[in-house]
């Protein structure tokens, strides 16, 4: 297809650089318009670079043409961060997927941003190491995406989220220069620009190489599945386990509907009649782990647990986790679309907020499903719906807003790990004052004065005067 005439000179420049790895075919552009959220946009051009130098040149060409650009990893983001709005050039990092160097002495690996999270850990398995952040999407999400969203995962309860596992990042800045933020020493001097970049969702440039810290595989791992006939007992057990001074490697919760859909997919023997289950993992030295198992068992019994199932071997453990990690997708067995929130509430308020979530969903005639990182109070209420039902989106949005309000009122925050992106951008005002946001905007502007790096994301438009783009999440972006 001939591109719109405005794009032609830009496409020519990009094709001179990348050959057939700069694309503007109609059918193909549509494939880079969505991520894992319910938003959709459309790129002007898609570029598939294979190294840092190509990324640098693409960003320079975009600068010459004053055209926004947006980095994309595996497109599994849940907040529309990788959804192209404002006719941008998509820079897809999928082909930049080499593990460049593994340095066991310093426990560092340099990787390209398109390396898939689980692929890295699989490659390191024989060496006895892994990359600790393990989003449930870990089999497919990219390390570049993890860095951009400062992603978490079940095991981040004990190990910390992505920012704790990234030492340095090579970045192509929005002005087309290339630099390394952070270094490999334990206490880098000066401002922690690495820390600033992590979680910036592609608004401060494109990560082209990442030095990740490697974590030793624990000598002993035990996984328990606890079932409860009342979700409130399960939630109370979560706080009680942590109150014992025990920090499990992971502490996940699923409610009744989640258990049903997950079991339909994995056949792992999840108790489909339970109101809630907790998946608890303990790791470390054998003695400590055995002790932890007993503590968990005692606390669970005090909270009316049904069965305490201890995974017998690695295969059973893997199967239980496979269920948990596929839960979002499995929700499609109930309804074809879902809208997922990511609020964090104080652990002590879990029961209260969960009950509100169910009430809100009922009031809006929607189905709520909860599967979440209970240990750190990170809720993932899923509203399942069918976008083909007329009027359903209004109800979904109203319910979403009510859930966020309830979480913030309980002393929580907007997003635990999925990022703000496009989807939660307009909720920022519920948490931050105008002044807060204007200050954040100044930081962003220091990196990207022209406003070309993933524009319209994170901060509501209007928080910066120079913003020339639309006022709201663009019409038609919700699918």
């Amino acid at each position: 297809m001939v591109p719109p005439s405005a794009d032609k000179p830009l496409l020519d420049d990009l094709q001179t650089l990348l050959g057939d790895r700069a694309r503007a075919e109609d059918f193909e552009l549509g494939l880079y318009g969505k991520d894992g959220s319910v938003l959709e946009g459309r790129p002007a051009i898609v570029c598939l670079p294979i190294n840092s130098e190509e990324v640098r040149c693409i960003v320079n060409i975009c600068g010459d043409h004053k055209r926004p650009f947006i980095a994309r990893g595996s497109g599994t983001g849940l907040s529309g961060g990788a959804v192209p709005v404002g006719d941008p050039v998509v820079i897809a990092t999928a082909k930049m997927n080499r593990i460049i160097e593994v340095d066991l002495d310093n426990r560092i690996a340099w990787v390209e941003p398109g390396v898939l999270n689980l692929d890295l850990s699989t490659q390191l398995k024989g060496l006895g190491f892994h990359f600790a952040p393990d989003p449930s999407s870990q089999q497919v999400c990219s390390i570049g995406g993890n860095v951009a969203n400062n992603s978490g995962g079940p095991h981040c309860l004990a190990y910390g989220v992505t920012s704790a596992h990234v030492a340095a990042i090579e970045v192509v800045l929005p002005d087309g220069s290339i630099t390394v933020l952070g270094d490999l020493t334990a206490e880098p001097s000066g401002y922690d620009l690495r820390g600033l970049f992590i979680g910036s969702e592609g608004t401060m440039g494109v990560a082209t190489k990442i030095a990740v810290r490697l974590t030793q595989n624990p000598p002993e791992v035990r996984t328990l599945l606890l079932d409860f006939s009342d979700v409130r007992d399960g939630a109370a057990a979560v706080s009680a386990i942590i109150a014992q001074g025990l920090i499990p490697a992971a502490l996940e919760m699923m409610d009744h509907r989640a258990i049903e859909v997950v079991e339909a997919f994995v056949n792992a023997g999840y108790p489909t009649e339970a109101d809630a289950v907790l998946l608890v993992e303990l790791d470390g030295l054998a003695g400590g782990v055995e002790n932890g198992v007993e503590v968990v068992r005692r606390v669970a019994e005090a909270h009316h647990v049904g069965e305490v199932r201890l995974a017998a071997d690695e295969a059973e453990r893997a199967l239980l986790w496979k269920g948990r990690k596929n839960a979002f997708g499995a929700v499609a067995r109930i309804k074809p679309d879902y809208y997922l929130h990511d609020t964090v509430v104080p652990r002590g308020k879990l029961v209260e907020v969960l009950e509100k979530v169910y009430r809100i969903a009922d009031a809006h005639n929607l189905i709520a499903i909860n599967v979440f990182h209970a240990g750190d109070g990170n809720l993932h209420p899923i509203l399942a719906y069918d976008s083909r039902e007329p009027g359903v989106l209004e109800r979904v949005h109203a319910a979403g807003r009510a859930i966020i309000t309830a979480s913030i009122e309980a002393g929580g925050v907007l997003s635990g790990e999925h990022g703000i992106g496009l989807e939660k951008r307009d909720y920022m005002g519920m948490l931050f004052t105008e002044h807060d946001m204007a200050t954040q905007d100044l930081v962003r502007e220091a990196f990207d004065p022209e406003g070309l790096a993933n524009p319209l994301k994170i901060l509501p438009s209007g928080s910066r005067c120079s913003d020339s783009f639309g006022q709201h999440v663009p019409e038609g972006a919700w699918v």
Binding site: Y32, L118, N326, A330
Partner: protein, 386 residues
């Protein structure tokens, strides 16, 4: 690019069931070797949606659809239960009927599969050319037999399906299968020429009419109700889907009689000769149509474990790149996919690999892998003195 009108006719519930989570991507062989969204299950489904909603397609759409191996690894990986295989088959059939998607030479090639006489003559001609060293070596064909003795029936307990290319090129595998079944105490009978081809490749190519014709013909070759055993994973998968394909009660009944031969053998293991003391390490390559379509890959492990020490490959059943006619149509992608499989085989550190599908066997052999059908291995080992 020129657009043409097409109605794919995919069930709208199926089309809506993909939530774009991307969890299938790493399990898709074509995505793994290209890292392109257009070569991923999520991308292909999005393309189908675009085509259905606009009613228009162009050549890029056709190319993207044609480059899918139809291994259905994405179906096993998909937590939402998206029925990708049937969506792709529907798409291809619509393209075949409404556009010039399948060229005359491809159609002709598929047609020949259902004609045993032409196939035998053609194969003999190839065998002669091969012996005169007149075939380009890059075709990577196995040693093609010049003449083959017929298969000899030994009873009426079970049927053994023989198929098209497999029977012409790999009849010795059928003989080994027959010996193992007989050792398990059953007599084997063979169908006549009406069961010349199961029609799997035709379904994959979108030649639905031809596939249904072959299915009806094949069914008529298996009177009675003895179990129908299949030692080719691709054919077995197809014959188990006749019920769905023809949607008649006879077809459903027929499909229920079809078993992968290993599924039958696991229930007759005790009748086989005793196991050995020092079983050799053998890696198992799960054919996609056994693992992802029939979900019958475990029986192969159980049967082989009686005589060997089976090693499971660490690539979670990722396709080897054979894909029926795929390796001939897309030799470069097929070879790149195979390279990943070979790396996994190398990590397993074995001397030999077992694969229960003729297409995978030929494709892996062409890549230099030492591989045989599991029952050829079993046949060998069970007859060896301890």
């Amino acid at each position: 690019m020129k657009k043409v009108a097409v109605k794919l006719g995919i069930d709208s519930e199926d089309l809506a069931s993909c939530v774009s989570c991307g969890l299938c991507l790493p399990h898709c062989p074509t995505y793994r070797v290209t890292q392109e969204e257009s070569a991923s299950p999520r991308g292909r489904i999005a393309l189908m949606r675009q085509a259905e909603s606009t009613g228009l397609i162009d050549q890029t759409f056709v190319d993207f659809m044609d480059a899918c191996i139809q291994c259905r690894g994405c179906e096993t990986a998909c937590p939402a239960g998206v029925p990708f295989g049937s969506m792709m088959e529907t798409t291809r059939e619509a393209l075949t009927q409404q556009t010039s998607y399948q060229s005359w030479w491809r159609r002709w090639g598929y047609r020949v599969l259902g004609c045993p006489n032409i196939l035998t003559i053609g194969s003999r001609a190839l065998a002669v050319l091969q012996r005169l060293k007149l075939l380009p070596s890059k075709l990577a064909l196995p040693k093609i037999p010049l003449m083959q003795a017929p298969l000899v029936p030994s009873g009426e307990d079970v049927w053994l399906f023989t198929g098209c290319v497999m029977d012409v090129w790999m009849r010795d595998t059928h003989r080994a299968t027959q010996r193992v079944i007989e050792a398990a105490g059953a007599g084997v009978r063979f169908p006549d020429k009406k069961a010349a081809c199961c029609g799997a490749l035709h379904v994959h190519a979108g030649l639905g009419e031809e596939a249904r014709r072959l299915a009806r013909r094949t069914m008529s070759a298996f009177p009675g109700d003895a179990p129908i055993l299949v030692d080719s994973a691709g054919c077995g998968a197809q014959m188990k889907e006749y019920g769905h394909l023809l949607n008649t009660s006879d077809a459903h009944k027929f499909s229920q009689r079809v078993l992968d031969v290993h599924e039958w053998l696991v229930n007759h293991l005790d009748e086989l000769p005793a196991a050995h003391a020092n079983p050799p390490r053998i890696a198992i390559q799960d054919p996609c149509h056994l693992r992802h379509v029939q979900q019958a890959h475990d029986p192969v492990r159980v049967v082989l474990a009686r005589y060997a020490d089976p090693v499971i490959l660490d690539d979670e059943g990722l396709c080897c790149g054979a894909g029926g006619a795929y390796s001939a149509l897309y030799p470069d992608t097929a070879a790149a996919v195979r390279e990943r499989k070979i790396e996994s085989i190398n990590r397993a550190q074995v001397h030999e690999v077992a694969s229960a599908n003729p297409g995978c066997l030929l494709h892996l052999q062409a890549g230099g892998v030492r591989v045989r059908h599991p029952l050829e291995i079993v046949d060998d080992l069970m007859r060896k003195d301890i």
